[in-house]
Subunit: 158 residues, 2 copies
């Protein structure tokens, strides 16, 4: 059977785009695993928990509507509700409601949450610096900008 190429691989040669997605996934796993391990050992919080505290601290009034927090995290509303439960039990995040619209609920960073975040952020920053140490700093901003585009974030998001 000439021309059959029985053992040819499935992929096309120009799969730059797919390759990017594969490496993005791989890099994400490596980074979050490292951050998770260090942070949970030191502060009892995973990186996902840290991100919640971080985005709340960043927001005006240190609070966000739950739906807006979900968008920043890239989670569903359901996932956000469930992720907040342990943080609320620990007293790091509190609930507030909107007097104008009883549908919306806010998640607010408490003082205890802010104190814990102060320490956790230092750890996270240090681990992040170690992870990216092998890379020239000028590229980091470039790649970050790129990643924001990929995530489809509007300028309204941070």
């Amino acid at each position: 059977m000439p021309g059959h190429r029985a053992a040819a691989r499935v992929e096309r040669a120009d799969d730059r785009n797919l390759e990017f997605c594969l490496r993005l996934t791989r890099a994400h796993l490596a980074v979050t695993r490292q951050l998770d391990n260090v942070m949970s050992g030191l502060h009892g919080l995973g990186f996902a928990d840290f991100m919640i505290l971080h985005y709340l601290d960043r927001a005006p009034g240190r609070r966000l509507r739950r739906v807006d927090l979900a968008e920043r995290l890239g989670l569903t509303a359901s996932g956000t509700t469930r992720s907040l439960i342990p943080l609320e039990k620990l007293g790091l995040v509190a609930r507030e409601s909107d007097p104008r619209d009883a549908r919306v609920g806010f998640a607010v960073l408490t003082d205890a949450g802010r104190q814990l975040l102060a320490h956790a952020a230092a750890t996270a920053s240090q681990v992040a610096a170690e992870i990216t140490a092998a890379v020239p700093a000028t590229r980091l901003d470039d790649v970050s900008k790129f990643l924001r585009q990929i995530a489809g974030m509007n300028s309204s998001n941070s």
Copy 2:
């Protein structure tokens, strides 16, 4: 209270590195969600399943030791075992053992798996192209190289 800065945010100003980790996480979520949605609708496979077939197809003999597959995926050995189960039930992946060392198990791409991958790869490639459409192609290779460094991959890995 002069000099107290009661409302100061926790983060330091130089958190380029942490910001990168946050955006990497956010971008990964956006990308895999899009790929998952399209692929599961068309082929009944998630992107994680696709990656398994892809890495097997890429490997010599279209097979990998389970521990090596785990490293490529960025999963634990446990996660790899469990991820393979549905693919084995569908007949897309088969098991092989090493006659020299009874400890090791191989995962092998079957003919059926290769046929499905041929279609799924075309879909994945197209979706990946749409996701990265807003970005100059020259940067894509650059960022991919960067992501490989971050993932801590040796040259032995693809």
